[in-house]
């Protein structure tokens, strides 16, 4: 079931209004005429045949959206991301990228990915920030890759957008968590993908770093026209940039524009009573 928001709801409506009604027309903020770039249809997944980590999830991300996926720890957010990237195959249902099953999807130049952490880190991985960003320009087998460095201009641009031009010759291992995240963002955007998947780091980044991270993602969405699929746990920050939210607790609790989220949704999401204080995103933005 795809849960659509009710268009009669205003941004400042109180908690008792619930915007969940599949029969109602689409909300104005969800431009439903745009092509779907990522789609979950009755998707189930369980690790090793145990309890399902993802249960009957259906929602779509459309071109140009900034979709924030919210949910508590262990709610299956990262599992959804891995399903979308074809790193896991759904036990039931389907996951599609650009209209093709994500397990068979091959056109990876259209997709950028920023993981929460990277396996190679902590092993003295010998690469400069520039070399890591260069990886994002991989376009299939090239026997001369060892001799050639390519895309210098693109690399510098991506570093500039990510705000880390001054770190380009630094070993990746010497960076802080927040800086590494930016290096990985530069790596993800250097090939100018249409769709950007991000798994926000849980720890190691302070409040200022987190704000700047969200500002950067918003500008990639607004100014660079990238569709964003962001896994986050920071509801406040996400409210400012996201155009659509999916609240996940194994299944979809809410899907719609962020200002339609009510306390009830969040209570259902986190399992304890939550009140919503809505900030006006535009005015609060520095």
């Amino acid at each position: 079931m795809i849960i659509e928001p009710n268009e009669n709801m205003g941004a400042t409506d109180s908690m008792e209004s619930v915007a969940l009604s599949p029969e109602e027309s689409h909300g104005p903020e969800l431009a439903t005429d745009r092509p779907v770039v990522c789609e979950f249809t009755n998707t189930w997944y369980s690790y090793g045949g145990g309890e399902p980590a993802v249960e009957d999830v259906s929602f779509q991300v459309r071109k140009g959206e900034f979709a924030a996926i919210l949910g508590p720890n262990g709610s299956g957010k990262t599992t959804l991301l891995r399903l979308a990237l074809g790193l896991l195959k759904p036990t039931r249902g389907s996951v599609e990228l650009f209209g093709e099953s994500s397990a068979r999807f091959r056109d990876w130049s259209r997709v950028g990915y920023v993981p929460q952490r990277v396996e190679g880190m902590g092993t003295r991985f010998p690469a400069t920030v520039e070399e890591i960003v260069e990886q994002g320009l991989y376009r299939g087998f090239n026997p001369l890759a060892i001799f050639r460095r390519h895309g210098r201009k693109e690399i510098l641009e991506a570093l500039d957008v990510a705000g880390i031009s001054h770190l380009r010759r630094r070993p990746i291992e010497s960076l802080s968590v927040g800086q590494r995240q930016r290096a990985l963002i530069a790596r993800a955007i250097v090939g100018q993908p249409d769709l950007l998947f991000l798994d926000e780091p849980v720890s190691g980044v302070d409040a200022v770093g987190r704000d700047r991270f969200h500002e950067l993602i918003s500008s990639l969405n607004r100014e660079h026209g990238m569709t964003v699929f962001l896994i986050s746990h920071d509801i406040g920050a996400v409210m400012q940039g996201a155009t659509v939210c999916a609240c996940i607790n194994r299944t979809v609790v809410f899907h719609g524009p962020p200002h339609h989220i009510t306390g009830e949704h969040l209570s259902e999401l986190y399992g304890f009573p939550v009140d919503v204080l809505l900030h006006d995103a535009l005015h609060e933005h520095r």
Binding site: L87, W108, V118, Q135, F141, I146, G163
Partner: protein
Amino acid sequence: MPEIFQFDFMTRALIGGSMVAILAPAFGLFIVLRRLSLIADTLSHVALMGVAIGFVTSIYPTFIALIATTSSAAGIEQLRSRGRLPGDAALAIFLYSSLAIAVIVISKSSGFNADLFGYLFGTVLSINDRDLWLIGILLLVVIVFVASFYAELTQSAFDQDLAHVSGVRVTATNLALAILTGATVTASMRVVGVLMVGALIVIPVLAALRLARGFRTALLLAIGFGLLSVWVGLAVAFYADLAAGGSIVLTTVAMFALAEVVGKAKDYFSARHGASDTGWSASTSSAQPEIDADQR
């Protein structure tokens, strides 16, 4: 001409040793970064089984070892990637079963203990032309592989999931990496012996990782440390009349210690000269980004 080059066996040892010194660390870099060092160790025991079978059947032992290591490597990788067994469980099964087979084969047919001793601890001084050809071919294969799949190898060493999303065929890359690890182990076995193969694959790489900033530098440094270790080790063994394998491995350890010292010194000086290009985000104050921007 120095005395060391006046003996045929010494010249052959230097040629064979040098080839392995390029092969083992070049490939070892990817093995270490993928945290697969234990695979090299396991495969060396598989190689011993191959050698034992080779002796019994009177077929060229190194060749049997090559077949045993490459096929076992493929098997280990299959078990690991399908998630049937955790990585190190698969290794344990292969290590002990091949060691047990080796023990049984050796005990059933006495008479080649001296030769076997050579395979355990290295026989670089008795390396023959056939060995040199085999090592040479393996070296060529590995160089061509590393050079042409450089992008795929570095991507999957950095992160398998990221590599997948970049479009790298991760499963195929892993399989090729495992099979060639088997080949590398077999070639290195002739020089430092089954028991110390891991040292030549891992230690020069660790030394290089201490000093290198970039990937290409790390690759070249690892090969450099490998070559230096083999040359110094062989010279010491020759003039001081020591076991060549042990002398080479101890030299790699000395290289590692040297790299640590140089690395520490570099850290110290760069700290004193204020390499203060720390970026912002995770740092303390909100004023930090502007300061950094000015410094550029």
